[in-house]
Symmetry: C2
């Protein structure tokens, strides 16, 4: 057998069953009026003061090509839940709506629509699951990475996390998000190929173990990769450093090793001792690279301690955003057929109407037809199912993210988000109508 | 553009750059002796007393088809790091080794090899990244789900988590793992299609909002899906329940709704009140289905409280294994060219030699050529790159998991893992050799 993968020809089924159930009802009830859905994060995780929006490009690509294959329809038929007329209509399903979105790499806060979809109700509904899945993983990753990059104070951060990410799709999409957030390179070769981002890597403990002696392993490795970063902690970190020094004596001017990597133990202390050993052997130019369960907290501690570390390899804690592995994302209907709608569920309410966000010294979430001071954040990326804005380069998103984070000021700065007078009024009005109905 | 996906033709590049770097060195040094690598979990997360092994089938499918496409080689060439001879050799790369593994659905503990790969060194090395990525996501998911299923005490658990999982691959592979662990169904239609697992779903708040009145939404929905579970908390949960009762009066004998879903607020209290309302309207047969940030902890509280909940829709907390979103997995060289190897790095050591695990009243990790009492856990799935054991049905893995967890006894039972005399001796011997070298 071959392994199952999600791809362009089956992704239409990457949806919650209830989306299709609702679609069948809409189909038979003739409900194809224009719906407006907002994708937003209800509350930030305790450990986050901002989010770095990411993942839009994958959503746009999906919307451009979304359709049901014969195989998909035949599977749906086999469930004996759906009517023939409805399934026939799915054969012609295309996304023909508009997409307003905040550009990737932008900082956002709770309750700000990241994406606003304006489309016939069934279309806007079906895409919910995929949009939430893709925006969450990329935004989680970019946000965590931005914190780590900031903690590293200009020293390079390399992504080593693919082995601990959740599955193969995260394994390519997170490195892209990391790059947007300022990470220097990824170890995942496929992510490098697919997105054109720099790839990087050193050597594994198994390489050292494959030789009887560590020094012999170092000797052989530099034959192929003279500018290597050598991993020194397989057996005993400082003995490993001494083997690097020994190699430099053996090779003399041919020694071109650029650094060492520490991957276990008390990194701060070992870095100090390794630095001293290297310096006293005249190897001041060798850099010390640290890995081993790093994140923004441990990197900050290392740097506050004054550990002479020149770069960081960050793995699973960035790869799963371990202190906040999910976001409280929502995708809510805010208008249908010209009528503003909202949800009142306890702690899970939503804001009605089409929106714009204006960013000034603070953010104001407003109605789309209001004009307020500040920079409007939502941009129309797609109109009638056709892209209006060409794919942006990752480098541009990266610059945007860097500049936005710089503007934020301190690492833990929040940012006030207010609601416009128009939005407050619409909310009050919509609430009145609902309460008339439910009381 | 189309969205990038991982698939059979590019997955060879789904590897850390250092794997390829090491492979080039092995190639030029002629190091293609037999290597043995163990994939295991070093320490269990604090919140876990056992793991449910999962994901093997995807690993075997990958190993059966693994090869480098012309496009992959051309990308590697463009990096200007690899020699032409080495890249040419990659064009013929195939996996020709043996794979010993613990069947999916089995319970395991720390330091027990889940997979043991015996293959020429470069082959066994290259596959590290993918194996770790795939086994971790499936094992995390199955383990979390097993805890949730157990907490639900026989009431059905449905997976609603795809929107919060990390990416699309997790979105299909986790539902499979959940099913192995006893989850009744998934909301992800594509996972249903690819793995033949049951799909399930109710309705979203947006459906209710798309109508001006909640009761009207319920009326229309049951036209298509008379046996629906109606979502009652869009505006006010108990008002929603009253609308369900009103609908039952309108429809009389044609009312075939099977339940209601509560998705916000104090579920325990609301379930009690909803039950009372339904019962006093003669709707005793309607089931109450709960969702809203559920996990094993909140389900246990609900049931201990005596909340009359008949089933659980579990989302992101299961989908990201939120209290333990990663495992301390390792893939370590334990033998090369007949020589046992081990790693000594602080808190990150490994056990040398080819292994077997014998499960009796406790588990003993032993050398492969030892014979101890108990059931051997590692089974040879692949020999010389060819599968020896056909693909197992998910239902068989699910039964195995259920029976293993039943045997474990209490929900938080641990299980003693010992090392055999042979393994202890080999470890001491290998340590001596290494210390001679490093001292």
């Amino acid at each position: 057998m071959t392994s199952p993968w999600v791809n362009d020809s089956n992704v239409a089924l990457f949806t919650d069953l209830y989306e299709l159930t609702m679609l069948q009802s809409y189909f038979h009830e003739g409900m194809d009026g224009t719906a407006v859905f907002d994708l937003f994060v209800r509350r930030l995780p305790e450990q986050r003061n901002y989010l770095v929006v990411c993942g839009l490009e994958h959503v746009l690509a999906y919307l451009e090509t979304l359709s049901f294959s014969a195989e998909a329809l035949s599977y749906l038929r086999s469930l004996n839940r759906f009517s023939d007329e409805f399934l026939k209509s799915l054969a012609h399903f295309r996304f023909t709506g508009d997409v307003h979105a905040i550009p990737e790499g932008t900082i956002v806060f709770a309750n700000e629509p990241i994406i606003e979809v304006v489309a016939p109700l069934p279309q806007a509904q079906l895409i919910e699951t995929f949009l939430m899945n893709q925006i969450q993983v990329a935004t989680l990753a970019a946000t965590k990475a931005a914190r780590i990059v900031r903690a590293a104070r200009g020293k390079p951060v390399i992504d080593f996390g693919v082995r601990r990410m959740h599955g193969a799709d995260a394994g390519i999409k997170e490195p892209r998000a990391f790059y947007v957030a300022g990470v220097a390179a990824t170890s995942n070769v496929l992510a490098g190929q697919l997105y054109g981002i720099p790839v990087s890597g050193t050597m594994a403990h198994s390489y050292v173990q494959a030789f009887e002696h560590e020094l012999e392993a170092f000797r052989r490795f530099v034959r192929q990769f003279p500018e290597a970063i050598l991993l020194v902690d397989t057996y005993d970190t400082l003995a490993g450093v001494r083997n690097v020094i020994e190699l430099s004596r053996e090779l003399g001017p041919k020694f071109r090793v650029t650094g060492i990597r520490l991957d276990s133990g008390d990194i701060a202390q070992l870095a100090v001792e390794a630095r001293r050993l290297l310096d006293s052997a005249g190897l001041n130019h060798l850099e010390i690279f640290a890995s081993n369960s790093l994140d923004e907290y441990s990197i900050e501690k290392l740097l506050n301690f004054g550990a002479p570390v020149d770069g960081f390899g960050v793995g699973g804690r960035m790869g799963v955003s371990s202190d906040a592995p999910m976001l409280d994302t929502a995708y809510k209907l805010v208008e249908y057929a010209g009528r503003a709608t909202m949800k009142l569920s306890a702690h899970k309410g939503s804001l009605p109407g089409r929106k714009q966000i204006f960013r000034d010294s603070r953010d104001t979430v407003a109605l789309a037809d209001e004009k307020l001071p500040g920079q409007p954040l939502l941009v129309k990326y797609m109109e009638n199912g056709v892209r209006k804005i060409p794919e942006e380069k990752l480098q541009a998103m990266r610059s945007r993210c860097e500049s936005e984070i710089r503007k934020l000021g301190s690492a833990d700065a929040g940012h006030a988000v207010e609601l416009s007078p128009g939005l407050c009024e619409l909310r009050a009005h919509t609430l009145d109508l609902i309460q008339e109905d439910t009381s």
